[in-house]
């Protein structure tokens, strides 16, 4: 938290720029387009929005990289980036906290009250006398009442490990191994970069990016399985809800993190960016990657095991 700057080094304040306003307009397209798409009014605006958002962001970052190479950023500006990234990751932590909080509330309170536990169980007893509190609920309260006529259906099978014999074919375990390994490989890459060993850096970073995309593919397979064979969908009550929302947002972050890392790989292998001292783009990507990894560990514990 030091504010000491070497004297005469001025903080770089960029000239006026039209990137942000273009980005804001892109967000207008994106916001209206997303709402239109959700409400079934067509997806044209959404595509324009996504394309312009990605395009503007890519251009914005390319400008930042060029400024950095032009020597415009001081150690103080780099500190700003470091703090900025740290606080951004904190905001992401809080986003996941909301969904984990919802999961814990549902598992601890909603389900047991609906099952008739305690003073609060009265409503559950009266409305859904047949519903039994279990986790995961394979039968939703509505289904317990209406049998097969139910609007919302419970899944036929959960994502938990059903018997130890199935361990070898249990996808989440492979996902865990893939992601934990990638956290190690991204660390090896960082160590290699600090020793200025570019070849080793590119190698380990490449492995990390590969693992990231393997994870995404495995996750897609898992979703396919859930929808096609397990009867587990977004509509199958609160278990499907929490399962897909938590793993879905995590998967999205893995995809973003993977693209983030792949960009750094391209910069290093293709354009020879980064030195042993200056490589914040990579460092930020690796922090983000470790964060995504930690979220997965929590997910594995609370969504797949406990």
């Amino acid at each position: 938290m030091s504010t000491d700057t070497t004297s005469h080094q001025k903080y770089y304040v960029p000239e006026s720029s039209s990137i942000p306003i273009v980005f804001a307009i892109a967000m207008l397209f994106f916001g209206v387009g997303a709402a239109d798409a959700v409400m079934g009014k067509g997806t044209t605006l959404l595509f324009i929005g996504v394309a312009t958002v990605i395009g503007t962001l890519a251009y914005w970052w390319s400008v930042v990289i060029r400024e950095s190479h032009a020597g415009l950023d001081t150690p103080q500006l780099n500190t700003s980036y470091v703090y900025g990234m740290a606080w951004f990751i904190f905001s992401e932590v809080m986003f996941f906290a909301a969904f984990f909080g919802a999961l814990f509330y549902i598992r601890t309170f909603s389900i047991s009250w609906l099952g008739g536990e305690g003073d609060k169980g009265l409503a559950g007893e009266l409305l859904w006398p047949e519903f039994e509190a279990t986790w995961p609920p394979m039968i939703t309260p509505e289904e317990s009442l209406m049998g097969d006529q139910a609007v919302t259906k419970g899944p036929d099978e959960s994502m938990y490990l059903h018997s130890i014999g199935n361990l070898g074919t249990w996808l989440p375990l492979y996902n865990t191994i893939v992601l934990l390994t990638s956290s190690g490989t991204v660390h090896f890459a960082h160590m290699a970069l600090k020793e200025n060993n570019r070849k080793r850096f590119n190698f380990w970073l490449g492995i990390t990016v590969l693992l990231a995309f393997i994870f995404v593919i495995l996750q897609a397979l898992e979703y396919y399985e859930a929808y096609a064979h397990l009867g587990l969908t977004l509509n199958t009550g609160v278990y499907g809800t929490t399962f897909f929302m938590l793993t879905g947002f995590h998967g999205m972050h893995v995809l973003i993190g993977g693209i983030f890392l792949a960009t750094q790989l391209t910069r290093s292998a293709g354009y020879n960016h980064f030195t042993d001292k200056e490589h914040f783009g990579f460092e930020a990507a690796s922090w983000y990657w470790h964060f995504v990894d930690v979220v997965w560990v929590c997910l594995f514990l609370f969504v797949y095991i406990l």
Binding site: M1, T3, D4, T5, K10, Y11, V13, P14, E15, S16, S17, S18, P20, I21, F23, A24, I25, M27, L28, G31, V32, A34, A35, V38, M39, W60, S80, Y83, G84, W87, F88, F90, S91, M94, F95, A98, F99, G101, A102, Y105, I106, S110, W113, L114, G118, K120, P137, T140, P141, E142, T152, L234, N235, G237, V238, Y239, G240, T241, F244, M245
Partner: protein, 527 residues
């Protein structure tokens, strides 16, 4: 604190001045320009949200349905709340932060100037999306600014509301990251944390709260969107969820949000009261600790908004006691302001009038908050006009008065001109009368049992509602006077000195009035 501004003459100093015309405002990276944009945006939102409030009060002037159907009324109530909170109060404080933080800590600008511009321009974007629902079939959201499920999950056009909130949240998070990084990384050498001006401190804490809770709001609207359009069951008991879960997630955001809208006001008030009492602030460090305590406590009191939803008894008790604890640090702050005024050489310029009114009226709002915190009593008060009176006392003569005080206090620094003191005082007295005539009677009708969010009411509440409506129109119209005073000061007025107020202290008073386009290119030394 005294400061010496060093003048280095660099030959590579090529200052980029402002661009000409509209492009200056669209593309600016200057914290002063962006602060101005935020402040004008918030003023516009204040007038629009105020117009909606006038609609509400016109309908409530007498019992019966006169001007609109209940759906339109609900839409006005909802949009009034959303516009005032996300468009009025929050952007006003961000605007002040933009103008003042770099000046007060001796930084050349905000840490990430282009992102700063983006934070601002996302706001008009988000409000364009939100307001566009007015022209759609199904109309604007009408489920209250708290958008409780399952009402909101069954409401038309809720997707536009959701993405508007997402974009506002992105704007707030980026703005807050900018503020925190600026404060942590760009203070002038010698400005230790405890030497930092209180407005800066209040914003450091506010920004932390914002980064912690805006993502939770994003989570809440995402769950809402999924429940409304994708068949999930977060808030649907038939699928195993719980509508009360919505309220927990929402108020986990909502309560810190309340402090987000008042902490910067604490900072502003501390500066102004000290200046016009011509005494250093009493208990500077205890002010800091009080704000930190309030921020920490704000995370563990959310369910006091939900005493009547049927929580387990132990939760009701916990949230009652935790809420009451907040009275302690708040009491410390009020005590310190009073102790600063005590035996001071006081003059009553407009900012001081607004700040003294802030201390008195905010404290009244605080006391009614304590009443509401008592669980058994809240069963009587819940969702009555007593609650409306309570939060309007902390938000209007609280947050909004402090913003007006800040505008009068720093306007000479921003424009180089003194505002018209007589007109300023007139504006104060009209606002002061208007606010109290509007909101004080709402305590009475609330305690007598008048419920919130109804377009019609029983005859016994007629007199006080009529009084309240008259007060509201007085308050609303006197804000046009405020607009006139500000516009006049921008273009003309007695020239302001750099010091502006003889009792003022801080780095912002060491630069010229109006503050040059670029200040503190080289950080000043703070002793």
């Amino acid at each position: 604190m005294s400061a010496v501004v060093e003048n280095h003459n660099h030959h590579d100093d090529h200052h980029h001045g402002p661009k000409k015309g509209i492009m200056r405002w669209l593309t600016t990276t200057n914290h002063k320009d962006i602060g101005t944009l935020y402040l004008w945006f918030s003023f516009a939102a204040f007038l629009l949200g105020g117009a909606f409030a006038m609609g509400i009060r016109a309908e409530l002037f007498e019992p019966g349905l006169q001007l609109m159907d209940p759906i339109r009324y609900n839409q006005l109530v909802t949009m009034h709340g959303l516009i005032m909170i996300f468009g009025g109060v929050m952007p006003a404080f961000v605007g002040l932060a933009n103008w003042l933080i770099p000046l007060q800590i001796g930084a050349p600008d905000m840490a990430m100037p282009r992102m700063n511009n983006l934070s601002f321009w996302l706001l008009p974007t988000a409000f364009a999306i939100l307001l566009s629902t007015a022209f759609m079939e199904g109309g604007m959201p009408g489920f209250g600014w708290t958008f409780y499920a399952p009402l909101s999950t069954n409401y038309p056009n809720v997707a536009y509301f959701v993405f508007a909130i997402h974009i506002m949240g992105a704007s707030s998070i980026m703005g807050s990251i900018n503020v925190i990084v600026t404060i942590m990384n760009m203070r002038a050498p010698g400005m230790t944390l405890m030497k930092m001006p209180l407005f800066v401190w209040s914003w450091l804490i506010t920004a932390y709260l914002l980064i912690a809770v805006m993502p939770v709001l994003a989570g809440a609207v995402t769950m809402l969107l999924m429940d409304a359009y994708f068949g999930t069951s977060f808030f649907d008991a038939a699928g195993g969820g719980d509508p009360v879960l919505f309220q927990h997630v929402f108020w986990f955001f909502g309560h810190p949000e309340v402090y987000i809208m008042i902490l910067p006001a604490f900072g502003i008030t501390s500066h102004i009261i000290s200046t016009f009492s011509r005494k250093p602030l009493f208990g500077h460090s205890s002010m800091v600790y009080a704000m930190v305590s309030i921020a920490v406590l704000s995370f563990v009191v959310w369910a006091h908004h939900m005493f009547t939803v049927g929580m387990p008894l132990v939760a009701e008790l916990f949230f009652m006691w935790a809420t009451m604890l907040i009275a302690i640090p708040t009491g410390v702050k009020v005590f310190n302001w009073c102790a600063t005024i005590f035996k001071g050489s006081i003059t009553y310029e407009t900012p001081m009038l607004f700040s003294i009114a802030f201390v008195v009226l905010f404290t009244i709002g605080g006391f009614s908050g304590l009443m509401l915190a008592i669980t058994p009593a809240d069963f009587q008060y819940h969702d009555t006009y007593f609650v409306v009176a309570h939060f309007h006392y902390v938000l209007v003569p609280g947050a909004v008065f402090s913003i007006m005080a800040a505008v009068y206090y720093w306007l000479p620094k921003w424009t180089g001109n003194m505002y018209d003191e007589k007109m300023g005082r007139l504006h104060f007295w009209l606002s002061f009368a208007g606010v109290n005539i509007t909101f004080f009677p709402q305590h009475f009708v609330g305690l007598a049992g008048m419920p919130r969010r109804y377009a019609d009411y029983a005859l016994q509440f007629a007199e006080w509602n009529a009084v309240s409506s008259v007060g509201a129109f007085l308050f609303g119209l006197s804000q046009l006077l405020f607009l006139y005073i500000v516009v006049k000061t921008v273009f003309a007025g007695k020239k302001a000195t750099p010091q502006v107020w003889d009792g003022a202290d801080g780095l912002e008073w060491t630069v010229d009035s109006p503050a040059p386009y670029h200040t503190f290119d080289v950080p000043p030394k703070v002793k």
